[in-house]
């Protein structure tokens, strides 16, 4: 395990270098000067050049610019936002706990509902229950997130007044209900589909018949023996979704006014706020790498036959 972790840690470095170089190049060649987003009107040509000189404050050579940036990252300094003039890391760190909280609760919602629905759809003997659950799973996958979010706001906030429509509510749990359900619904549907299909295969396998023959009750058969063997693809799915949610869920965060990193990054993109975009890309890539390592470790615990090399 230790060797595996060291090897993976070694792999992170070239991946992050690759990510920063690609992002740096793309932003370098993107059309439009970010200065236009902050100067407003009535800037004479001379003044424009003067402001540009002060704002960029960096060497002309691309390699030197990249070197300066990479050195900053190593020190945990991602630069200062062009728009807000605040350090990128400080702004990111303020928003990340919000995104993390939303991601954790959404994934928890997705796991609980997805696995429950998947198991019921798989083991139900009644055909119509299977059809109904399969229908909801398909509907969950096909429904656009923004539409589902707006529908929830319309029903639960506008009509029934039972949950707030937007905001962070200074951490009150009620404010996270609609964003978490919206964000987790699609994951839940995928997990349900995946659980159902894996369980369908496993429930008809020989070793489940053997377990049944030993006289074990149906619920432990499903939860202890069948589900555990169906978990590998489900964990992969959960891990990928969780990694994606940690990078911010733009639509959900926008609809519910959730102050997370996704909205922060998209706003930065529209404003050509390069330091924020770069910081977001680098940190996002790092999260994905870490999540993938965690998934690999989870595989070992779920299926001891898997070895980490």
């Amino acid at each position: 395990m230790r060797r595996y972790l060291l090897k993976k840690a070694g792999e992170i470095v070239p991946v992050l270098i690759g990510v920063t170089v690609i992002a740096f190049l793309l932003l370098k060649f993107a059309p439009g000067d970010p200065l236009y987003a902050i100067i407003g009107e009535r800037i004479s040509k001379d003044r424009f050049e003067q402001l540009k000189l002060n704002e960029s404050n960096s060497p002309s050579s691309f390699i030197k610019q990249y070197g300066m940036y990479a050195a900053g990252i190593i020190k945990g300094n991602f630069g200062v936002s062009y728009i807000t003039r605040q350090p990128v890391m400080k702004e990111y760190v303020k928003r990340f706990p919000n995104t993390f909280r939303l991601a954790v609760i959404s994934v928890a919602f997705a796991i609980i509902t997805g696995i429950a629905v998947g198991i019921i759809a798989s083991v139900a003997k009644c055909q119509w229950i299977r059809i109904v659950f399969a229908f909801f799973a398909t509907a969950g996958i096909s429904t656009p997130v923004f539409w589902f979010g707006l529908l929830l706001i319309f029903i639960f906030s506008r009509m029934l007044h039972v949950v707030p429509a937007s905001g962070m509510g200074d951490g009150k749990m009620i404010y996270i209900v609609l964003p978490a359900v919206t964000l987790g619904s699609r994951s839940a549907a995928y997990i349900a589909r995946m659980t159902q299909s894996c369980m369908d295969d496993i429930m008809h396998s020989a070793y489940i018949n053997a377990v049944r023959a030993r006289g074990i009750r149906p619920l432990p058969v499903v939860l202890k023996h069948a589900l555990k063997n169906a978990l590998i693809p489900i964990i992969t799915l959960i891990g990928l979704d969780f990694g994606s949610y940690l990078n911010g869920s733009v639509l959900t965060e926008t609809i519910f006014g959730w102050n997370g990193v996704g909205r922060y990054l998209v706003y930065a993109i529209t404003q050509r706020d390069y330091p924020v975009i770069m910081g977001g890309v680098v940190l996002g890539a790092a999260f994905f790498i870490v999540i993938n390592i965690v998934i690999d470790i989870c595989y070992v615990y779920v299926d001891p036959r898997i070895e980490l090399k």
Partner: protein, 510 residues
């Protein structure tokens, strides 16, 4: 299964305890919405409307605009202008305090204004003091003082201009001329004298302002202003309808709902803002350099239809680059010059209409393309992201473009000099790259003369030249539509939104 059911019940109970009072709101707090968070409240850096509106709650200028757009005293109780129009002497009120409790003096005003010109601060609005004596040397770092800012006594501040500049007092009403001093403990935080101060700002989430009890015009009626960032229109409407927002700009998609719904239609306020949307011609590039061609294109666009069918009459048709509210004080009339365009050769390579890529501009561009195709002029459309669009248009690389001009201050000069004077080509404002020596002379003279009658004559002449040469095909002036909760009292809209300091508003919930 037992544990599963138990945890569901536990979760529900937690939610109920946590959020049972989410829709109980205080009625000493005015609740407002921002679509996107503001970038700053520092007067040196504000360039956007939302930032300007919030700055109005936090700061005061030497002078301000009243509801009828007249310049009235603010921190300065009165002022004197020398006969040669070069000296402006302001007499500072003795009862103005910063929110820290410190009294505001002429020295503070000087420091505040010098910040705008400070080469280290790099304010994009340093141009508002470019007429002040010694300002240009200070910006370039050649001197350590601005000779034109003079502290005569603790309560007398004088500004010396290098040449007469009639609209100078109007410039002092801009948010960038608000008086603010950096806090000793946190220099990025600017302390003001306004009716409110920032109690809490969670960037991207909310901004909470608190009443300044020692505000020199009397403490505001409301205790707090809570400004929440709600990007999605539908969500904002839900918050408004559930009483969690007090005043809201009506999203264009919901205009009909609010103006027809019996519950809301009497609570809708509107005002024509000081702006002009236009189709700009690049006057230095073929074929738009030909005035005849410009007039042909202009005559082919049916503004009435766009206003009626696309905007559903939510905008006011423009007849000149200058909004009518700014023509009235000078008694200026808009003269149209009918020129025969029948001989114009429309058989030429297609030209490109460049615009900022958003759905509204896309739709307008397509309608213009259709109109022009009907008179035999083919145009291709080019949608660009905002900074790329501004870069291209400022560099003079666009043929024709869709853009708007918004007032910095309510004076006709603001709609003529920056946008049509040949010294302002590009990012300085004249993106049409228009040049006419006669216009330049008229508008330059109008800026410096002090007689109202003479100014009117010169501005009339300047406007007539623009109406003849047509560097812009003017389209419309945008209006602002706002809906208010019935418990909001003392609310009114102004063509320039940062006039409202929020001090007279109050909430009366029966």
């Amino acid at each position: 299964m037992k544990y599963f059911i138990q945890s569901i019940f536990l979760l529900s109970a937690l939610l109920a305890v946590n959020g049972c009072n989410f829709n109980n709101r205080p009625y000493d707090t005015l609740m407002l919405r921002l679509k996107e968070d503001i970038s700053t409240t520092d007067p040196a850096y504000i360039v956007d409307v939302d930032g300007s509106n919030i700055a109005a709650y936090l700061y005061n200028g030497l002078v301000k605009l009243d509801k009828s757009m007249q310049i009235v005293p603010d921190i300065a109780e009165r002022w004197e202008i020398s006969n040669d129009g070069l000296s402006y002497r302001f007499f500072i009120r003795t009862d103005v305090k910063f929110t820290t409790g410190e009294y505001c003096t002429a020295e503070h005003i000087k420091r505040s204004f010098m910040r705008i010109l400070d080469p280290l601060i790099c304010s994009p609005r340093s141009w508002i003091f470019e007429q002040v004596d010694g300002a240009s040397d200070y910006i370039r770092g050649l001197t350590g003082e601005v000779t034109g800012f003079m502290v005569i006594s603790p309560h007398i501040f004088q500004i010396q201009l290098k040449e007469p500049f009639a609209p100078f007092l109007s410039l002092l009403t801009m948010p960038n001329a608000f008086v603010g001093i950096p806090a000793n403990t946190a220099p990025a935080y600017i302390i003001g004298t306004g009716p409110f101060y920032i109690e809490k700002w969670i960037r991207g989430d909310k901004l909470l302002l608190r009443q300044n009890p020692s505000y020199f015009e009397g403490a505001p009626h409301i205790e707090h202003i809570l400004i929440r960032v709600i990007p999605e229109d539908f969500t904002a409407i839900t918050e408004f309808e559930t009483g969690m927002l007090d005043i809201m700009d009506i999203p264009s998609a919901e205009f009909e709902y609010f103006t027809r719904n019996t519950l809301w239609k009497d609570s809708v306020h509107s005002v024509e803002l000081l702006n002009t949307y236009y189709l700009g011609f690049n006057c230095q590039k073929e074929p738009c350099s030909d005035v005849q061609f410009r007039r042909t294109v202009a005559s082919g666009i049916s503004t009435d239809k766009i206003i009626q069918y696309y905007f559903q009459n939510r905008v006011e048709k423009a007849v000149s680059p200058v909004p009518s509210a700014l023509l009235k004080p000078y008694g200026i009339e808009v003269n149209n010059f009918n020129v025969d365009t029948s001989g114009t050769d429309t058989n030429m390579p297609p030209i490109t209409l460049t615009f900022n890529s958003n759905s509204e501009m896309q739709a307008i561009a397509e309608l213009i393309q259709y109109d022009l195709a009907n008179i035999g002029i083919d145009i291709t459309l080019e949608a660009l992201e905002w900074t790329a669009f501004k870069e291209k248009v400022s560099a003079g690389n666009a043929d024709i473009f869709l853009l708007s001009w918004w007032a910095d201050y309510p004076d006709i000069e603001n709609f003529l000099y920056p946008v049509f004077h040949s010294s302002n080509w590009g990012s300085a404002g004249n993106r049409a790259r228009y040049k006419n020596n006669e216009f330049d002379a008229a508008v330059t003279q109008a800026r410096s003369v002090s007689g109202h009658e003479m100014q009117s004559k010169l501005y009339q002449h300047a406007l007539d030249i623009i109406m003849q040469d047509m560097p812009w095909r003017v389209l419309w002036h945008k209006k602002k539509f706002v809906v208010c909760q019935p418990w909001v009292k003392g609310f009114s809209l102004s063509p320039i939104s940062w006039i409202d300091k929020g001090a007279t508003l109050f909430l009366e919930k029966k």
